[in-house]
Amino acid sequence: MLLFATKRVARAILTVLIVVGCAFAALRLSSDPALVVLGPDAPPSAVAAFRAAWGLDQPLWQQFFYYIAGLLRGEFGRSLLNGADVLPLVGSRVLVTLEIMIPALAIGILVGVSAGAYAALRHNTPKDRLVMMGAVAGFTVPHFVLGLVLVLIFAVHLGWLPSGGNDSWRSAILPVVTLSTGWAAVLARFTRSSVVEVLGQPYIRTASAKGLLWRAVIIRHALPNAAIPVVTTIGFMVGGLLAGAVVTESVFSWPGLGQLIVTSVAARDVAVVQCVLLLVATAMVLSNMTVDFLYTLLDPRLRGGRH
């Protein structure tokens, strides 16, 4: 078990380093942050001075080395636009993003898993097809389309809810519905196919044959065995909590991390982008590690790294 944990932690650190390194190089090689920040009218002397002030005139490997050294000291950098510490800025946006992402994920899991299990237990019936039609629709409609339709109905025509912003809890309703619809749809499809597959296994017939109530067969044998693919999917969703709402935040003008990423990439505020990516990559890696450990709880055969 210790070897299993050590390997996964090492792999996680390597993954985060690769992500951060790629982002670091891409942001600097794709264009000059000095010219983006100072604008097209900036005199060359000012551009040169800006590059020198921020170390952008040094070789890339040297810049990366200083960046990693700073990270190890707990320094995440300063905004190229105004010199502000990026960590408090990014941290405040994380909280705003989680205000919609956590309720959306909870609703998505609740609705998606329930709907998927319901459909599986009514396999090949009109109810099953109806649920799956809804799931396919929820999965295929892009968030920005669904978001705008919801705004037109509930904000513009009915006037029940705000069209965007983050003024009150009512502002969160439409973004949460938009996000949770997509997640519920994905989970419903995964849960259904997983449960259907498990229901065809010999041990389900055995459990039924030995006289267990159907409800007990489902709860004690079918659902735990069907959980692994569902947990994997939920793991991805949890990992994507921080960066998964870029489009939805733009549509609803929700001032979270997604909006910060978009504006910072456009402005080549590299310290902000790197800090966000570091957090996002870490969240994704931690989430995957958690899923790995959950696998071992759900399936003892996986302990010790055996697959």
């Binding site: 264009s31 010219l35 002397s45 001075a49």
Partner: protein, 541 residues
């Protein structure tokens, strides 16, 4: 009994404590107004020098003011603002008399000391030195930090672009000061009307823990004072009731950033916003389908350009560039893309130049036959002509580029669009450069604030080796330093001929325009500018 007395006392005390506040709240019936904008600022600060952008110009006049303002409810003509009068002492010196009794947001009275400080090295120029037209500006390369009061690198650079030769501002008396220039300059008064010359409070700057702390909440004299600012999210102002120009009509003015134009339109239709800015022409019909809403605005002092690189590709031959200018049907672009809400400018010049306006000058005529003849004469062989393009940095930019490309292909030029992500990629000397989009604003009412700043020897186009012309550079020197009005005008006329006809550096397309949706019930007049004016004189909500 004791309990009852205590309860009674607490009730009376809390009632007494709440009554005055209740009374004040009742007396202030002014509205709270929400303005949805595409972007609040580009620098993430509110310092007028650091925030040199069109979006910044929209909000600046709400909290900081100029010595000599521009009439936002008229035609942008000069008008006294924080200065009541000004006079020339010599070709290098202008004396300004200040308005008395003007209060900053922190309660301080504005005096000549604040003017001196605003234009000081500590706040504006860093360790740069005033220079003549062709001198190199020295730069402070210190790295800005949150705790230091060092100016960010870009601030002195911008300040010297705005005031290349200003030596100092001197106090004459409490309400009089003098602007002293290193060289003769007829545009000192004009520079005082420009963005970046707004007056800030000395004490507030000095008391701020860092430059960033100051720049997130500058203390000015405008009708509204900053309550809070969250970059990329919102900017909230409260009324500055001691405003010298009369009690502001709005209690709380809130600008919110809503990047998506469809969401700004939805928000105003849903009643969430009172104003929705930066609409595209295609959204106008949607907004005006609501009988309670209208779209106001239109032409602003900013001109859209196609800019040429004369050193790469077939554009080395000026006849090819001339052909490009004659192949454009500008009126069709204005009528179809802009739905007639823009116009073709008379070259790169603005009506508010007054005497310096070259009357009778026009954009190159649309003449495809002439354009084809020029292409043939130049012996063009069909080599690709790259057109580096940003995705709608400007309103309708991509659609406009597609139209232009078709027009150029009609005269036999093989123009190919290359999508780019940012300005650094547009200017990148690597690879072939030929055409890109740009725009030009006049910061004040003289051509020296416009054409030379982009195409002159210190302008970006020459600095990145896209274009240069010796005659143009000599003319820029005359326009910058001569005090002979006739000679200056002649130089400007000749500049237009060189840059727009003989050796085209660019060609004008159309006058830029902004469109703002508002409620019809709000009696508010849009300015012919990016700025929004929420003073009492412009509000009958």
């Amino acid at each position: 009994m004791v309990g009852v007395e205590r309860r009674t006392f607490l009730m009376l005390a809390s009632g007494a404590a709440s009554m005055p506040r209740f009374a004040i709240a009742q007396s202030d019936t002014r509205p709270e107004i929400v303005v949805a904008v595409q972007k609040l600022v580009t620098s993430n600060t509110l310092d007028p020098v650091a925030e040199q952008s069109n979006v910044g110009e929209r909000i600046l006049n709400s909290y900081v003011e100029l010595l000599i303002g521009r009439n936002l409810q008229g035609e942008l003509e000069d008008m006294p603002q924080l200065a009541t009068s000004w006079k020339r002492i010599s070709d290098e010196i202008v004396e300004v008399s200040l308005r008395k009794g003007v209060k900053f947001h922190n309660g301080d009275e504005m005096t000549a000391e604040d003017i001196v400080f605003t234009f000081s090295a500590a706040r504006m120029f860093g360790n740069t030195t005033p220079s003549g037209w062709d001198k190199t500006i020295t730069m402070d390369t210190s790295r800005p930090t949150q705790k230091s009061k060092e100016l960010p690198t870009q601030v002195p650079a911008v300040a010297r672009r705005l005031w290349p030769s200003l030596v100092k501002v001197e106090v004459v008396d409490k309400y009089t000061c003098r602007f002293v220039n290193a060289t003769p300059d007829v545009t000192i008064e004009g520079r005082l009307t420009g963005m970046g010359s707004q007056i800030v409070n000395r004490r507030a700057f000095e008391e701020a823990a860092s430059w960033l702390d100051y720049a997130r909440k500058p203390i000015g004299t405008g009708p509204y004072k900053i309550r809070s600012f969250t970059p990329d999210v919102e900017l909230i102002f409260d009324a500055h009731d001691d405003y010298w120009g009369g009690r502001p009509p709005i209690k709380t003015l809130r600008f919110v950033q809503v990047p998506e134009v469809a969401q700004r339109v939805n928000g105003i239709r849903a009643g969430q916003y009172h104003f929705a800015c930066d609409l595209t022409p295609d959204q106008i019909v949607t907004v005006e389908s609501d009988p309670k809403l209208e779209v106001v605005g239109g032409i602003i002092p900013n001109i859209r350009l196609s800019v040429f690189d004369k050193y790469d590709t077939a554009l080395k031959d000026p006849r090819i560039r001339q052909a490009l200018t004659h192949a454009i049907d500008r009126k069709m672009i204005v009528d179809k893309l802009w739905l007639g809400r823009s116009k073709v400018p008379p070259g790169l010049q603005f009506a508010f130049y007054g005497d310096m306006l070259v009357s009778g000058w026009t954009a190159p005529e649309f003449d495809p036959a002439k354009a084809k003849a020029l292409v043939k004469e130049a012996g063009y062989k069909g080599d690709p002509i790259p057109y580096r393009l940003l995705n709608d940095y400007y309103t309708l930019q991509t659609a406009n580029a597609q139209v232009l490309t078709e027009m150029w292909q009609q005269i036999g030029l093989n123009v190919q669009i290359e999508m780019k992500e940012n300005w650094a990629q547009i200017w990148d000397p690597k690879g072939k450069r030929a055409i890109h989009d740009w725009s030009n604003s006049a910061q004040f009412n003289d051509p020296v604030s416009s054409l030379p700043t982009q195409h002159g020897p210190q302008g970006q186009q020459q600095q990145v080796h896209e274009w240069a012309n010796d005659e143009m550079n000599k003319l820029c020197g005359i326009l910058q330093t001569s005090t002979d009005k006739a000679m200056r005008k002649k130089a400007f006329e000749r500049m237009l001929v060189v840059c727009e006809r003989e050796d085209p550096a660019y060609t004008v397309l159309n006058q830029n325009a902004t469109f703002t949706a508002k409620r019809k019930s709000t009696q508010w007049k849009v300015a012919p500018d990016f700025a929004m004016d929420f003073r009492a004189s412009n509000w009958r909500g």
